[in-house]
C-alpha cells in the first residue's frame, strides 16, 4: 500500500466513523488535494465536510481552531509546512496553549498535516523541516510517519486525539509502497502516540531517524552489516512526546548513537536526543554521539547542490563507523 493510500484511507475511515471530523485546506476538495492525499473525499462527504479554502493559512488555521474550540474535529492541510509559518501564531498561541490557558475549558482536537522537509528541487522556501519548531512547544503533539503502517496508524491516532497534533508527512514518501498486514488494514487499527519502533535490531550502534531518513538509515544498516557492524535502527514515529525510554534502552545495549535528520543541525531533533541520552545514559556511551543533519544553509535548488545539502546513506555509514572507531573523527583529521 502506498503512503498516499494509507493516509487517504485513514482519513476516510475516521471521517466515516465520526461526523465531527472535517477537512480544510487549499485544493483539498475539487483538485483532490495538491498531492492527491484527499482524493475522492469531496465526492464522498460533500462540501460541508471537505472545505476548499481561500489562500490564507492564518485565516483557515484560525477558523479550524475556532471550530475545534466548539467541538468539531478539523484536519487542516498545509500545502507544505513551510506555509504553516503564516499560521504559526494560531498553531502555537491558539491551538497549543488554549487548553492550558483556559484551565481545561477549551480543548483543541485539531490535526495539522502536510508535507514537511525537503522534496526534490523545490528550493529554499519549500524545503525546511519544521519538526524542531513544533516539537519544542508544550501543548502540541508532533508525529512523523515513515511507512504506510505508520501513516495509517498515526493518522488515526492523531484524529482521535483530544490534543492538537502536528502531523509531518513527506512528499517523496507519498508514492512509496510498503507491505501491510491485515491488522493494519482494519479500520480500528491505531498506533500509540509517543512510542518509537525498532525497525531493525542490532547490537553495535543505535541509529535514530524519522520520516524519509528511516529508509536511508535502513540502507545504511544493510551496508554496515556487510562490514561487520550490527546497527539498530529506531524509527522515532513520535517527535513530541519523544520516546526517550526506547532510545535510551537501545543505547544502553549498543553504547553508541548516531542521530539522523534532514533538517538544520542547530537546535534540531538530534540535539534533543543527544541531551536526553547524556542525561539518562551517560555512563553507557563508549563514543561521542554523532549527529547527522542537513547542511546549515537554506536549501539550494541545483540538483548537485541539493544532494550535498541533505544527508545521504554514505554519511550515515561513515558516522556509524566513526562511533565504532573504524575511522577517525572529522575533528582529528582537521
Amino acid at each position: 500500500m502506498t503512503v498516499r493510500d494509507a493516509l487517504n484511507s485513514a482519513i476516510d475511515e475516521e471521517m466515516s466513523a465520526d461526523p465531527k471530523v472535517f477537512l480544510m485546506g487549499e485544493e483539498v476538495g475539487e483538485y483532490q488535494g495538491a498531492y492527491k492525499i484527499t482524493k475522492g473525499l469531496l465526492e464522498k462527504y460533500g462540501p460541508d465536510r471537505v472545505l476548499d479554502t481561500p489562500i490564507t493559512e492564518a485565516g483557515f488555521t484560525g477558523i479550524g481552531v475556532g471550530a475545534a474550540y466548539h467541538g468539531l474535529k478539523p484536519i487542516v492541510e498545509f500545502m507544505t509546512f513551510n506555509f504553516s509559518m503564516q499560521a504559526i501564531d494560531h498553531i502555537i498561541n491558539s491551538a497549543a496553549k488554549s487548553n492550558y490557558m483556559s484551565a481545561g475549558q477549551i480543548s483543541v482536537p485539531i490535526v495539522f498535516r502536510g508535507p514537511n522537509g525537503a522534496a526534490a528541487g523545490v528550493g529554499a522556501q519549500h524545503s525546511q523541516c519544521y519538526a524542531p519548531w513544533f516539537a519544542s512547544c508544550p501543548g502540541l503533539k508532533v508525529l512523523a510517519p515513515y511507512s504506510s503502517e505508520d501513516a495509517r496508524g498515526l493518522m488515526k491516532a492523531a484524529i482521535r486525539d483530544p490534543d492538537p497534533v502536528v502531523f509531518l508527512e513527506n512528499e517523496l514518501l507519498y508514492g512509496e509502497s510498503f507491505p501491510v498486514s491485515a491488522e493494519v488494514l482494519d479500520s480500528s487499527f491505531c498506533l500509540p502516540i509517543g512510542k518509537a519502533k525498532i525497525e531493525r535490531e542490532g547490537k553495535d550502534v543505535t541509529i535514530t531517524a524519522f520520516s524519509k531518513m528511516v529508509g536511508y538509515a535502513l540502507k545504511a544498516a544493510e551496508i554496515l552489516s556487510k562490514e561487520g557492524i550490527s546497527a539498530e535502527v529506531i524509527n522515532l514515529r513520535s517527535i513530541r512526546p519523544l520516546d526517550r525510554a526506547t532510545i535510551n534502552n537501545s543505547v544502553r545495549k549498543t553504547n553508541r548513537l548516531v542521530t539522523v535528520e534532514e533538517g538544520f543541525p542547530q537546535h534540531g531533533i538530534g540535539a534533543e536526543i543527544c541531551a536526553s541520552v547524556v542525561e539518562d545514559s551517560f555512563e553507557y556511551l563508549d563514543a561521542a554521539i554523532e549527529r547527522i543533519a542537513g547542511a546549515d544553509v537554506p536549501m539550494p535548488y541545483a540538483a548537485n547542490l541539493e544532494r550535498l545539502a541533505v544527508p545521504q546513506v554514505e554519511d550515515i555509514v561513515r558516522a556509524a563507523k566513526r562511533t565504532c572507531y573504524r575511522s577517525s573523527s572529522l575533528a582529528a583529521t582537521a
Binding site: 498561541n93 483556559s102 484551565a103 481545561g104
Partner: protein, 464 residues
Amino acid sequence: MASLLRNSGKITTTAGLIARPGFQGGRGFGLSSFSLFFSSPRRFQTTESESRVDSHCYDDEISQKFSVLGGKVPYTSGMRFTSELPEEKVPCYRVLDNNGQLIDSRNFAGISKEIAMKMYTDMVKLNTMDTIFYEAQRQGRISFYVTTTGEEAINIASAAALKIDDFIVPQYREPGILLWRGFTPQDFANQCFSNKFDDGKGRQMPVHYGSKKLNYFTVASTIASQLPHAVGAAYSLKMDGKDACVVGYFGDGGSSEGDFHAALNFAAVLEAPVIFLCRNNGWAISTPASDQFRSDGVVVKGQAYGVRSIRVDGNDALAMYSAVRSAREMAITEQKPILIEAVTYRVGHHTTSDDSTRYRPLEEIEWWQMARNPLTLYRKWLESNGWWNDEAEAELRSNSRKELLKAIQVAEKIEKPPVGDMFTDVYDAVPSNLFEQEKLLQQTVTRYPQDYPSDVPVRAVPSS
C-alpha cells in the same frame, strides 16, 4: 488632534440596517478636474447624468455565464476611479438624543422594563467594578487591570440583545457580557487575584476571564486572533443547525490585523452565522484611529468582503440593543456574517500600564466623559419613564461598591492554586514527564519550605 470618527451631525432614525450605497467615483471631484483638459462641450457633458456620457452596457448572456465576477457587470466608457472616501461618511444609528429622549419613537422596537432595568444596573456595576479594581491595582493588590470605562453600553446592551446559547469570543474589553450572564464580583476578583477558586487555575494575567458554562471563550492576549476562531465556531453552529450565533468582539486596532481580513472574507464565503462587533473607541494604546486606517472607519470594510454592516452609536444603549438584536436575527435566519461598528470612546487608559494623558489632551477625555456618557444618557431615558431616581442610584452605587470591595478582600485572602495545577491541562492527560517533574518539585518544596512562598499549597497531581 485625535481624528476620531465624531458623529458629524448626520443622525438617522431608521431602526433597521442601512445598506451602504454602492458609491461610484467622485462626481463633483474627479470628473471636473478631468474636464479641464477638454473643450467646453466635454465639460458640459460631465454635469449631465451618467447614462448620457457612458451608455452603460452589460455583457451578453454568454459572457455573463463565464464572467469572473459572477453575473451582470455594467461596462462604461468613462474612466472613473472609485474615490478612496465616500462623499459622506456612513451614517451612525442612534436612538436617544442628548437628553435621553427617543429621537423617533416609531422606529424603536421596544424593550421590556425588566431587561431595560437590568441593563442599567449592570452598566453601573461594571463601571463600579472598573473603578474599584483599578484602584486595587494602584494599591499594589493586583498586578494589572483593564477598564471598560466609556464602553459600558456596548458591553451590556449587546449582551442583553443576545441569548445564553450565543458564543462570545472576546478581545479583552468585554467583561460586561460575563457580568450580564451571571459572573459574580467574586468570580472576577478570584481571577484577578489568581487564587485557587479562579476558573483559570491562576494561569493567566488579570482580566483574562473565561467561562465554558456562560459560553464565553477565555480571553487571550493576542489581538484579533479570536476573529477566525469566531468564524470556525460559527461554522460548527451552522453544521449543527443551532438557533444561535457567535459574536466576535474586537477594537479599531484589531481591524488592522491580518486575522480580521481573513475572518471576514472567510465568514462571507462560508456563510457563517457570526457577528463581528468592532468597538471603535478611537485609540489603540497611543495610536489614534487616523493612524490605524484611512478608510471611513471599520464599517466600510464590511462591504469589501461581502458582509452586511452597520455603524451604531456605541454610547447609546438602546441603539446597541436594537442593532445587535437585528444582527442576531439576520445572522441566524439568513446564515451570514454581520459587521457592527460601535462608535465610542476609550475614556480610561489602555491598561493600568498606560497613562493616556501623555498622548491625548485631557479636554478630549473629559468631553467624552460628559457629552455622551453611556450611563448618564441611558439613565435620563429611564428617569423619563419613571423607572429610576436619585435614591435608587445612590443605593445601587453604594451596594455595588460594598460588594466589590468585599469581593476583593475575600479574594486577597484565599490561597493560591496548588503547585500541581501548574502541570495539568498541557495535554488532555498528564504525560509521564510532567508527572515526574511535579513529584520532584513537590519533594523540593517540602524539603526546603523556607525557600518557597508560604501561600503556595502543595498537592499531588492525579496520575494519568
